[in-house]
Amino acid sequence: MTGATLDIGERHSVGELTDLAYELRRKLLELCGTYEGAVHIGGDLSVADILTVLFHHGLRVDPDDIANPARDRFVLSKGHAAVCMYIAMAMRGFFSYDEIVDTYGQLDSAYGMHPCKVQLPGVEASTGSLGHGLPLAVGMALSARHRGEKHRVVTLLGDGETGEGSVWEAVMAGRSQKLGNLVAFVDRNRQLMTSFAEERVMFEPYPDKWRAFGWNVIEVDGHDMAQLVDAIDRLPDPDSDVPTVVVCETVKGKGVDFMERNLAWHAGSLGADDLSRALAALDASRGTTAADVPPADTHEEAR
């Protein structure tokens, strides 16, 4: 992205970013193997590449100066992927990974199931209830525009989340307010919590919806790092008039065969045995993208 004052930090090649995403998934699975409660592992794995490219390439942020007004803002609208964001941010130097693992979900921990700005400075907004992030992002983008700042406001939504009417209100507002500094990533994994998209809720033709609401639409394979990098590098100037959505075709559970496109893994926990199976699967899946994963067998049941 083309920010104004904040440097983007270390430059990574597509290969390095791919390795970072692998590392992020490993860490996610490890936490999911030790933490007793359920982790939203399906939706975490589905955004691991997106969060990697954002925190290691796209966002102008500075872990040592988290309140710098020139920073890009990132709002995790699909707040249930919090732990994936925490770890991605830890890998960028915001937090300590060990602290995340040691305290996740515990009493008074700053690291819980959903991001809490009150308890964890560095995250930009408290989210978790779906459909809230985009309106917040519109407000932040308006503020930046008004102050003449050149940073972007980036948010990440689940595709199921975009069933919420509040999202479409904000889509309309982002366009009406002419916020070219506003960018929404959609994790288009074609799953909600208890159903596959199109099975109970018809989202198609999905990108057309955003187009009809006046947004600039970029479509990518959300597990293809080269495409993600390219999308970010092609984002319009923040001073322009039209907000951008990056529709990322993804796989819920991506990287772990038994979780992929499997409704049983919206949330769950891994014992030690399953952890090693999962890590082995992760190794086996290296280098694959969404296009490599077969469509879901929608006759399988949610548990």
Partner: protein, 331 residues
């Protein structure tokens, strides 16, 4: 430019909102005004600060969410609209995006109570109960149009959210002379002193309460009228003092459901502090959807108009007072 006014005069509270915001926009460069297509009174602000005026159209949820996003970035957003919609359609946004991170978002609007003859979709009759349910929220209901400006001004110093309720706000009586009362968020106003019974009220019924007190005075009954314009945090000290100083006789009058609003806030204090009352009566909207009619007609019909207020005050000071028969059957 502050509005000038005369005691007793009729003034539009809406125009006070408009002019106060336009005035504050000058001194507060981070003040924004947002509305979901209810912007008629905000024209002055809009024209002076078009960049800080956001009309999102019919989209209450986004309106509140955007306000929160602005506040996260150091701005002071005012959301102005019709309360039946702002208090309910956007309630989760108010709770989760505004109250939870404790952001300085102000929600101000009209149509609190059975006012405006819009029918039951258009009356905010449970809004104070809803707003008092929210942690970190300060909740006010204002009757005096000049006070509206004063409260907005005071609220500029708050770090958290505030809810400001008005009735229709087109024609409101100036109740207080300038400097007559100390006006401070969180403190009730003794609008008229008295020693036999306290009549607690807020918002549009303060004028009616004063009128009722005047009528009782002619019977030799001394009614204290408390304008409890802040419902949260509630002025518990004042309530306790009134119990002691007015013979433990309380009547609560409000253009709101008689459960959940001020009457309930008072009951909470009474229970918490173990206050012994001689009498307690609620005058407000019963558990019905009220239908059409002009403001005063509906108040009369539903038992909290002027004559009902006078009657309740008489009951309160009569011997053997507990009027258990007046308690609604099921609440």
């Amino acid at each position: 430019m502050p509005v000038t006014f005369t005691f007793g005069e009729m003034l539009s509270a809406r125009s006070v909102i408009g002019s106060t915001l336009a005035e504050l926009g000058e001194t507060h460069e981070n003040l924004w005004v947002l509305t979901p297509d209810i912007g008629a009174t905000l024209v002055e602000f809009r024209d002076k600060y078009p960049d800080r005026f956001v009309d999102v159209g019919l989209a209450e949820q986004a309106c509140v969410g955007i306000a929160a996003g602005l506040a996260y970035d150091g701005n002071i957003p005012v959301v102005s609209g019709m309360l039946p919609f702002l208090s309910m359609r956007a309630l989760e946004q108010v709770r989760t995006d505004v109250c939870y991170p404790d952001l300085p978002v102000k929600i101000i609007g009209t149509h609190g109570g059975l006012v405006g003859n819009g029918g039951s979709t258009h009356y905010a009759v449970e809004d104070l109960s809803l707003m008092c349910s929210l942690t970190n929220m300060t909740v006010t209901s204002i009757g005096d149009p000049v006070m509206v400006g004063e409260i907005i001004r005071q609220s500029m110093h708050m770090t958290g959210p505030i809810y400001i309720r008005l009735a229709v706000g087109k024609k409101d009586k100036v109740l207080y002379e300038e400097g007559q009362h100390e006006i401070r968020i969180g403190k009730g106003i003794v609008a008229r002193d008295g020693s036999d019974v306290t009549l607690f009220t807020h918002g549009t019924t303060v004028a009616q309460a004063l009128e009722a007190a005047e009528q009782l005075a002619q019977d030799g009954v001394s009614v204290r009228v408390v304008d409890m314009f802040t419902l949260k945090p509630i002025d518990a000290e004042l309530i306790e003092r009134c119990a002691a100083e007015t013979g433990g006789r309380f009547v609560v009058l409000e253009d709101h459901l008689s459960y959940g609003g001020l009457a309930t806030r008072v009951a909470d204090v009474v229970a918490d502090r173990g206050i012994r009352l001689e009498s307690f009566e609620r005058l407000g909207i019963p558990q019905v959807y009220a239908g059409f009619g002009e403001d005063e007609q509906l108040r009369d019909k539903h038992g909290y108009g002027l004559s009902a207020t006078v009657a309740a005050l008489r009951r309160a000071v009569a011997p053997a007072t507990r009027a258990a028969a007046d308690e609604p059957a099921a609440v």
